[in-house]
Structure formats: structure tokens, C-alpha cells
Subunit: 149 residues, 2 copies
Amino acid sequence: MTDPVRAGANPERAVLSVNSRFYAAFEAGDLDAMEEVWVSRGHAVCIHPGWSPVVGVSAVRRSWAVVMANTPYIQFILTDVSVSVLGDVASVTCTENVLAAGEGSPTEGFAGGKAVTTNVFRRSTDGWRLWIHHASPVLSGEESDRDGE
Amino acid sequence: MTDPVRAGANPERAVLSVNSRFYAAFEAGDLDAMEEVWVSRGHAVCIHPGWSPVVGVSAVRRSWAVVMANTPYIQFILTDVSVSVLGDVASVTCTENVLAAGEGSPTEGFAGGKAVTTNVFRRSTDGWRLWIHHASPVLSGEESDRDGE
């Protein structure tokens, strides 16, 4: 697979490509692919909807093993995607429109639900990697408010 | 007030100082102080617990006016504070232990509740400013999991 970072694509596109790989890995239940999306060492934070923060690369990996084991089926349609790149850090905020079949406790998905997510990426020699993932359920029926930019 | 960024303090301390000013502004219901904590233009994202994302400096300012108008009293005790600085961007994740008296719809606070927050700051000529605030309710009783780092 061509890495868009190395291929010299613009950074927004490169970041959105990794963002897509994150959701593809989750939908496929592919823990190895998920691991490749994340930073490989040091500080990392993952907040699954309704969870307390999971901090550190190893703890984040463990949390995904648990979430995937309890998610037989999940599908995402992303809306309100907003990307911003600042040097070697980039943020993507989006609304996750989720179709899921879950078992046990609430995890990343809930049938027909909606979550909002902040994904923060850092660029390293490996390209853009996920540094912080914070997903939370949307309780209100309001649409997102945004500047007319 | 001495700005710790200009005084040459270490970046983690400078970031935590701005993080504290964010919560102080919220507790005081001081919209001007809140505005000073945030980036002054361009891209900014604020996700209040249970809300859809509010995107853009003006929309974020409006959202705080609404939240403060509906929060006669709120107090935060922060735990699990984790700070990480990467060049001109820094993240703080923390658990907000909230005491609040609210009116109307759920906002940033709920009596005796808990939220987890990701605050991402960027450094500019104005010092560290809040770029992304994502707060979400904690639904599970689990403690946070973290690497033994």
C-alpha cells in the first residue's frame, strides 16, 4: 500500500487516510491493523464512549482487544468531519454514525447510535499515527454548531 | 499575573497552568477569562458532555455563554491528570469530578458526576491556548487503565 505521507500528498489527505484506516481496522476487528494505526511507544490516550481514559500504548492495545472481542459487528458512517493540521500534529473531529451488534457492556458501539470523536495524530518517521482517541455518546438531539468559515 | 510561558518555566507546567485557568474561568462563570484561555482565531473545537461538536472560535464562545448561563454553580476536582507536550502542541487528559447545580438541559456539569476530558493546547505568540476541549460523561464504574510507565 502506498503511504500517502511518503508519496508527498497534502497532510490533510494523509491524516484523513489514516483516520479511515482506524475505522476500517475497527470494522474488520483487525487488532494488528489497529495497532499499526497507533503510535508505537510512549504516551497514547484512548477514551472509549463512557469509559475512563486508557493511557499508554500497551493499555490501549489491551482495551482494543476487549472492545473487539465484544463487538461481533460494527459499521461506521462518518459525518461532520473536520481536519486541522498544525506542524507534526493533526486533529480530526467527526460524528460516528454507528450500526453495531454488541454483547455485554457498552463499548465503542451501540445499535443505531451516534458518537462524537476527537482523533489527534502525530507525525513521526512512521508517518501519521493516532495519539489520542476520544469518543463519546451524543445525548442531545442538537445538530453541531459551527462558524461560517 | 506572570505568564509561565514567558517566564521560561517548563512546558508541562505552563500547559497545566493554562489548564487550571480554564477550570477557574468555568467555576467563576467568567466568559472573558474563558475567552482568553482559547485560541483567538481559526480552528477550535469544543465538545461539551453529550453535545455534538461546536466548531470555530465564535461558535465555541457562544456555547460557553449558554453553558455558563445555565450553570449557577460548578466546582471541579481534577484527578488522573496526564500531560504530554509535543513541540507546539500539548494534551492534557483528566477526570473531572464535578459538583454542580444546573438548570435545564445537561451541560458541562451534573451533580456529583464524573467526566473525562481531553484538552489539546497549541503554543502561539500568545502562549499556550486551548485548541480542542472534549468532555464526556463516564458511564462505567471502572477505574482508568494505564501502563506502568
